[in-house]
């Protein structure tokens, strides 16, 4: 089946992001495909390049990057949600006259339309970290 995941959970404060990651791995291990992982609301913090947790704790953004690299996943971060919260790629950093960009490689910024498109082409859409 074709799945898409919607991640609204931030990587540290909620368990939801890690659960989404494990769900994604389980899907791929079971032979399903993932059309897209869409990061919305505080879930956009999964896409920061600057997360630096202590060494004995999970680095969720880095784990998304590794999984995406291994399986060519489409990791899309909602641009409006990200810019509001200060996660930007080079283009947006320039547009908003910020000193640096911090969107991690492997993630891309795009609009909410990518969430709707994911719904239209996926057999299942699973939300992590909703209701907050």
């Amino acid at each position: 089946m074709i799945f898409s995941l919607v991640v609204q959970a931030s990587p540290v404060q909620s368990q939801g992001a890690e659960t989404a990651l494990r769900f994604a791995r389980a899907l791929l291990a079971s032979g399903h495909s993932i059309h897209r992982v869409f990061f919305y609301r505080d879930g956009i913090h999964n896409g920061t390049a600057l997360a630096s947790p202590p060494q004995d704790e999970a680095n969720i953004p880095a784990q998304w990057q590794a999984l995406a690299k291994e399986h060519q996943l489409d990791l899309v971060v909602c641009i409006a949600a990200a810019v509001r919260r200060g996660v930007m790629n080079e283009n947006e950093a320039k547009r908003y006259k910020k000193e640096s960009a911090n969107l991690a490689p492997g993630f891309e910024l795009s609009g909410l339309g990518q969430l709707v498109e994911a719904c239209l082409v996926s057999d299942r859409v699973i939300t992590f970290g909703g209701r907050s």
Binding site: A80, G111, L112, V116, E117, L120, T127, G130, R131
Partner: protein
């Protein structure tokens, strides 16, 4: 394109988190993609529909303004959980937009009849 329909399930109070606005943004985008969309308000989310809101004092934009644009986007199916309304002593005439009141069995039907559910 497709006849996939999307149910947007909202359960949070109007202010105190960005859930209400984020759900409305998602609903409006569904409409831009011509995906039929239904909004279902459960739990404290029924307060989102109260008319006469004035959240300027807490630095928030008035949700009623965005809600008024829903019909322009062909989003005219707004469902509210009957039990949530009753538990909070609310009646439909206190709401800013016409709604369809649904019981537990009808909520299950809504979830079954839509292709996807996005929850906030």
């Amino acid at each position: 394109m497709s006849v996939d329909s999307i149910l947007i399930l909202v359960r949070s109070a109007p202010y105190g988190s960005s859930a209400a606005r984020d759900a409305l943004d998602a609903a409006l985008t569904c409409s831009v993609f011509e995906a039929p969309v239904t909004l279902l308000f459960m739990d404290d989310a029924v307060y989102q529909l109260l008319k006469g809101q004035s959240p300027a004092g807490i630095g928030q934009k008035n949700l009623n303004a965005i809600q008024q644009s829903l019909p322009l986007y062909d989003i005219d199916r707004l469902c509210v959980a009957q039990s949530a309304m009753a538990q909070r002593g609310l009646s439909e005439d206190q709401l800013a937009l016409p709604v369809e009141s649904v019981d537990a069995a009808q909520i299950a039907e809504l979830m079954a009849e839509h292709t996807h559910v996005l929850s906030f």
